[in-house]
């Protein structure tokens, strides 16, 4: 770990990326330490479960390690890692039961940017969570990242490996479905 930490301090990003592409284990370790927080945060935004996000961070870096020879340094490590992380998170979401929303402990355990609105009752929160959970994973990811997390469409498109137009369409379809589901429950935004 000490050697890797020295590499982080002394080597520029370009050198590190080239070494990683060549299969250098210390460069991989250095990149792990440099990017694990960013990858974890990105996955947490999608899966909304701290424990799952930690496991998927390891899965993401495992996939990164295996795919090192296909890495293109000129495209940057962050966007490449985000794309692999997004696919790992999507794989996990697809394995969940469709009706499964976010875990009950989510609101207490995930560090949020702001306080939850006190005017939104627990019942409404649960209905919104449940409606989000019933969305197909591709629509759910697009909606959560674009609407709740307010990430730029371009960044989401790069992470999903689709066009910006496709992201906008997914968000539109997700919002239409959510509106319809919530209205059926008597919730009119």
């Amino acid at each position: 770990m000490v050697a890797a930490a020295e590499i982080v301090r002394e080597a520029g990003e370009g050198h590190l990326l080239l070494a990683f592409r060549a299969g250098d284990e210390e460069a991989f370790e250095a990149l792990f330490w440099r990017y694990q927080r960013e990858v974890y945060g990105w996955i947490l935004r999608i899966v909304r479960d701290c424990g799952v996000a930690e496991d998927l961070t390891i899965e993401t870096f495992f996939r990164i390690h295996r795919a090192h020879a296909r890495f293109e340094p000129e495209r940057g490590f962050g966007p490449w890692a985000r794309r692999i992380a997004t696919h790992a998170a999507l794989d996990w979401l697809r394995r969940q039961r469709p009706e499964q929303g976010m875990p009950d402990e989510f609101f207490a355990s995930v560090p949020g940017r702001g306080e939850a609105d006190p005017l939104v009752t627990t019942e409404i929160r649960r209905e919104v969570d449940s409606a989000l959970g019933r969305l197909p994973p591709k629509l759910r990811v697009a909606a959560v990242l674009a609407v709740i997390e307010e990430r730029p469409h371009k960044e989401i498109a790069d992470a999903l490996g689709v066009t910006v137009a496709a992201v906008k369409l997914r968000v539109f379809r997700a919002m239409r479905k959510l509106r319809s589901e919530l209205e059926q429950k008597g919730i009119t935004p």
Partner: protein, 85 residues
């Protein structure tokens, strides 16, 4: 609210409700535990699997190669081979 250009007409109310019900994740969030030991274990396990693949004796690979060659050169033999498997 950040200006991300993500707002579509007519969805403002629903977007506001979603954000109020599901607060965005904090920018400075980080894993609660050290992930590196588990990462190392995963890589080690994968290395072990690769080593087991490499540990297959050379004559097994030669035999598999020979069978593949025969199957390519004489496709009519394939059903016979399958019958005896």
């Amino acid at each position: 609210m950040k200006a991300t250009g993500n707002r579509e007409q007519g969805t403002e109310g629903l977007a506001a409700l979603l954000r109020a019900a599901v607060p965005p994740v904090s920018e400075d969030t980080q894993p609660k535990r050290d992930l590196w030991p588990q990462m190392q274990a995963r890589l080690h396990e994968d290395g072990g699997n690769a080593a087991r693949l490499k540990a297959v004796p050379w004559f097994d690979w030669a035999l598999a190669g020979g069978v593949a060659l025969v199957a390519v050169a004489f496709p009519a033999v394939v059903p016979v081979l399958l019958y005896y498997l």
